[in-house]
């Protein structure tokens, strides 16, 4: 499949907006939170995106933004007639009062720890995750430190 065909097909899918090429072999798009599971399943099964490179969370106050980098490394997709690895960058916007989204760790096993990290530092809840625990901070830590509104007492005594 050619990359421009993929562009068209992605554009016609439900819940997808702002599809754009940001590089020759990278497509960026915005996705509705409610259709994320259907979209990711289709992306993996029909469009050969078999590798989840990265999941990060961003705190754009007041909302959260999740960024998924999914790559196709097998050469099934061709870019301008050349076999090349391709990438899709998916952005999902989440409300601050309900930062939850469907987990993709059953599609890509590598997503497991990325989701745990996003939960640990940013407090995004992944529904259906098999083992949503903190990964970098100790259990029992209160709060999610990479949130912009996280407060901790820096130094009590005056210098």
């Amino acid at each position: 499949m050619d990359f421009s065909d993929l562009h068209k097909q992605l554009k016609s899918m439900e819940g997808v907006s702002k599809v754009s090429h940001i590089r020759k072999n990278v497509i960026k798009l915005d996705l509705e939170k409610s259709v994320s599971k259907v979209f990711f399943t289709k992306l993996k099964d029909d469009f050969y995106f078999e590798h989840c490179s990265l999941i990060t969370a961003i705190d754009n106050q007041p909302d959260f933004e999740l960024v998924y980098h999914l790559s196709c490394l097998s050469g099934e997709l061709s870019v301008d007639g050349t076999k090349m690895s391709a990438m899709v960058e998916v952005h999902i916007h989440l409300q601050r009062d309900s930062p939850s989204v469907d987990s993709v760790s059953d599609l890509w096993f590598g997503a497991n720890w990325h989701e745990r990290e996003a939960f640990d530092l940013m407090g995004i809840y992944f529904i259906g995750h098999p083992d949503l625990r903190r990964v970098l901070l100790p259990e029992g830590f209160a709060g999610h430190p990479l949130r912009k509104d996280y407060v901790y007492e820096i130094h009590e005594e005056e210098w």
Partner: protein, 214 residues
């Protein structure tokens, strides 16, 4: 619970980390009724007590201590075996100190990979909340006598991460530290000087054979 006050509340900051209460439980005496069987540690303690009391009563303790002190001290002073354990960038300098340029081996330092064979624990980097219980376990696994060197600003006070939410403010908040080596990073010469300081400290301490009871 608000995020405020985590730093002030040690219970919250500790997390699952410290297992001290668990290990204390393991070392507890067996329940009554178990006393019929003499366990090996009880036998050792009994022998220990007998030898100690006998040597104390006959005055042998003083003699043995006087004889063994210089030998023990010499041996400990000139063969401090540090644990081969690196945390962050200061560990690179620790490696450089053993390289041919500085060759710290000539002070008798041999890095060992098991804490059971070590005398010195070098804390060479920031200790995270999650690493703290593990480091404490390493320290507890080392046989007596043992010493701790805090290498670099991170291990002394938290260094560049002093106001972090997850870095412990210095290694001396949870284990006894003998020598502090300032620097970021610590130069190999400074590490060498730290070990010479430790040798001086060991010489002053003068442990003999009956070290445990003093």
């Amino acid at each position: 619970m608000s995020a405020k006050g985590i730093r002030g509340n040690p219970e919250l900051r500790r997390g699952v980390g410290s297992k001290t209460t668990d290990s204390e439980k393991i070392m507890e005496d067996p329940p009554a009724g178990d006393w019929l069987a003499l366990r090996s540690d009880q036998l050792l303690k009994w022998i220990d007590d007998a030898v100690y009391n006998a040597s104390e009563a006959t005055g042998m303790r003083e003699v043995v201590d006087r004889v063994t002190r210089p030998i023990f001290n010499f041996a400990q002073r000139f063969s401090p075996h540090p644990l081969h354990f690196g945390i962050m960038c200061c560990a690179i300098e620790m490696g450089q100190a053993s390289a041919p340029d500085h060759d710290i081996d000539r002070l008798g330092l041999v890095y060992r990979s098991s804490p059971r064979q070590c005398d010195v624990l070098i804390v060479n980097g920031p200790v995270c909340e999650k690493l703290r219980p593990k480091l404490k376990t390493l320290y507890e696994q080392m046989p007596e006598p043992k010493w701790v060197i805090a290498m670099g600003e991170c291990a002394i006070s938290g260094g560049p991460y002093w106001d972090s939410y997850s870095v412990v403010a210095g290694a001396d908040t949870f284990m006894p530290v003998d020598v502090y080596i300032p620097g970021c990073p610590v130069r190999p010469e400074a590490l060498m000087h730290g070990f010479l300081t430790l040798q001086k400290k060991i010489r002053e301490k003068e442990p003999g054979m009956f070290l445990r009871r003093e």
